[in-house]
Symmetry: C2
Subunit: 367 residues, 2 copies
């Protein structure tokens, strides 16, 4: 087992990464001195529940914890205020009190949803993450939790750090290939923004990672979490540096939003977004190799890098306008300076965005 400490002063917490951790959930709760007098709420989805919910329930109950569980439908649509209210109902009916913990057992959607419940139930209770996807290596670090508004993604949320993260890599073995690829998209992003050597390592271990080789996966997840936690430690509440984590997200969120949060997986949408950011940087005079290398790594993993022809340019722009990164009438983008280094620019014009969208549609037609 690898242990990574996320350093946030009194809100610091450990990430445990290794095999067989879910069946030891009760031990970790005990070790973190969680009271057995207060019920624990486990939030999970209908894909994850049949496989791992009984394991976690049994482990917690064996240590004397009373558990209540809420199983939501798998998918981004569960990150809604309606489902959030349902989870709150379960929490209240289950008798959760201020010393209770809310567990997110699942991927990024469950983590964001359960995290926002933990942040706001009785004005905040203990939060424990048990990610079961690769993508969640990203969302489980940093304390950003949120649900979507029908007009824009992650619009309603909070900063709420977990008490601990239990990352059981065994739970990743049953992921469908599309989710594996999409999850690795955020891992690659961490290389692209911060660590050229890690980006290279990802490229060299493409096959191992796609095959879910335990050693490669363990290293890649630890490295990805570590980069993210370094950035977050410097800037917990996204006043500056933390924004670099949004590489590919300005456009990516818009693509997800107009697809109704169903057509594209998050990792696929930001893959297109990262290609777009690289193209935008090149259009502004950066080395054309940046774009070529970015596309080469991402497409090596089978991730999309062209803009789908059926997406309407005006819809994409419209969705971006509602995004949080549209500040004071100017558009903020994270643009690569080189592989492993990015800059935050806030003066991107609508024309530049339109041009990149057109160019990335072109790319799609050449494939």
């Amino acid at each position: 087992m690898r242990t990574l400490q996320v350093d946030l002063g009194e809100r610091s917490y450990p990430i445990y990464i290794g095999g067989g951790l879910l069946e030891k959930a009760g031990d970790f709760f005990e070790q973190h001195q969680q009271s057995t007098k207060s019920p624990v709420l486990i939030v999970t989805d209908d894909h994850v529940a049949p496989k791992y919910l009984p394991v976690v329930e049994t482990s917690l109950q064996a240590k004397g914890y009373r558990t209540v569980s809420k199983v939501v439908k798998a998918g981004e649509k569960s990150k809604s205020l309606d489902v959030y209210e349902e989870v709150m109902t379960t929490a209240i009916e289950g008798g959760l009190d201020r010393r209770s913990a809310v567990v997110a057992l699942g991927g990024g959607v469950v983590g964001d949803l359960a995290g926002f419940v933990a942040a706001t139930y009785m004005r905040g209770v203990t939060f424990v993450q048990m990610p079961t996807t690769i993508l969640a290596h990203d969302s489980s670090v940093g304390g950003k939790v949120a649900v979507n508004h029908r007009l824009a993604k992650n619009m309603i949320g909070a900063f709420h750090q977990p008490e601990m993260v239990l990352y059981d890599v065994d739970s990743l073995q049953s992921l469908p290939p599309r989710d594996v690829r999409a999850g690795l998209s955020e891992m690659i992003k961490h290389g692209l923004i911060w660590d050229a050597a890690f980006a290279d390592w990802c490229r060299e271990h493409t096959a191992d990672l796609l095959a879910l080789d335990p050693e490669a996966l363990g290293y890649g997840l630890t490295q990805g979490c570590s980069i993210k936690s370094q950035v977050v430690s410097v800037d917990e509440r996204e006043n500056g540096l933390r924004a670099i984590l949004n590489l590919g997200h300005t456009l990516g969120h818009a693509i997800e939003a107009i697809g109704g949060y169903g057509e594209f997986l998050h990792g696929e949408a930001i893959s297109i977004g990262m290609a777009a950011a690289a193209k935008l940087a090149v259009n502004r005079g950066r080395d054309p190799q940046i774009y070529k290398q970015t596309v080469s790594i991402l497409s090596g993993f089978g991730l999309p890098t062209a803009m789908p022809a059926h997406l309407n340019e005006q819809d994409v722009i419209g969705a971006m306008m509602h995004d949080k990164k549209f500040k004071e009438q100017t558009m903020v983008f994270i643009l690569p300076l080189a592989i492993g280094r990015v800059e935050i620019v806030s003066d991107v014009t609508l024309d530049e965005v339109r041009q990149v969208i057109a160019e990335l549609k072109e790319e799609g037609q050449h494939v």
Copy 2:
């Protein structure tokens, strides 16, 4: 104008108390260096809007701020997730960004609702309180914001401190007498928990306060805010001392909940709750004078102190079970030790609560 500084480290903020402040809202925004580039959202209700919304809009616009306004229905029912979502929609459609401010123009309901929007819109934006009720002198200090769940009050919320509070006492002159009385209930509470001399002062100035005498009101509000801010400064997130502010609230919230948040005003419900707490203390062996004095002050203001006969005991107990103060199978109450001093007890049994409910129903029949 009186200025009271609430001392919370980097989250400290001033409360300005005086006449004519709403028409200077723009000046205060400028003084607090709020950017004019980001739209301001004003949340208010349909009782307050006709009187004061144009004043605030005009003042902000005169200083270059773009404003969007959301008028909700007056009353506790607007503290719902549905209305919260509507306000979020207005915020998104109005183009609010991370540097925007959300203004609560109104009483405690608007303050709690707008405050929870400010706490969670894009994971938190600037919050400004402009209370227009006496009750709001309580809710505008301390950063507790929340909406209700249909099963229990204030169950969904956050801690989010305002940037400033503009308390325009002119806006209190048009309050209906019932709201005046109910608002003074929290002011009296501050005397009962912390400051016997202030409780005495309230009793001696009953007529002045009910008549909204500006000098008495200015002093009483400043004193009430000051006591609350002293308590909150010691314990911002309610780990200990802050709980004393809940005197009368354990039972009070239950009374409000089963009345559907409409039958009793908050101040009326906690008045009954404070009488019940005093009775409970006496039943546990405290000086019977505590109960007599508590009832004497409250009833002097025309506030209810008996349990309404039509409230079903089992309903009241049931509603308390869902309350946040029901921790780990024991019931937490704030009980008076004397006028101006309270203790936090966590071992109150259901039988004790049943007995007090019965005794307070008896009292009602003697009136």
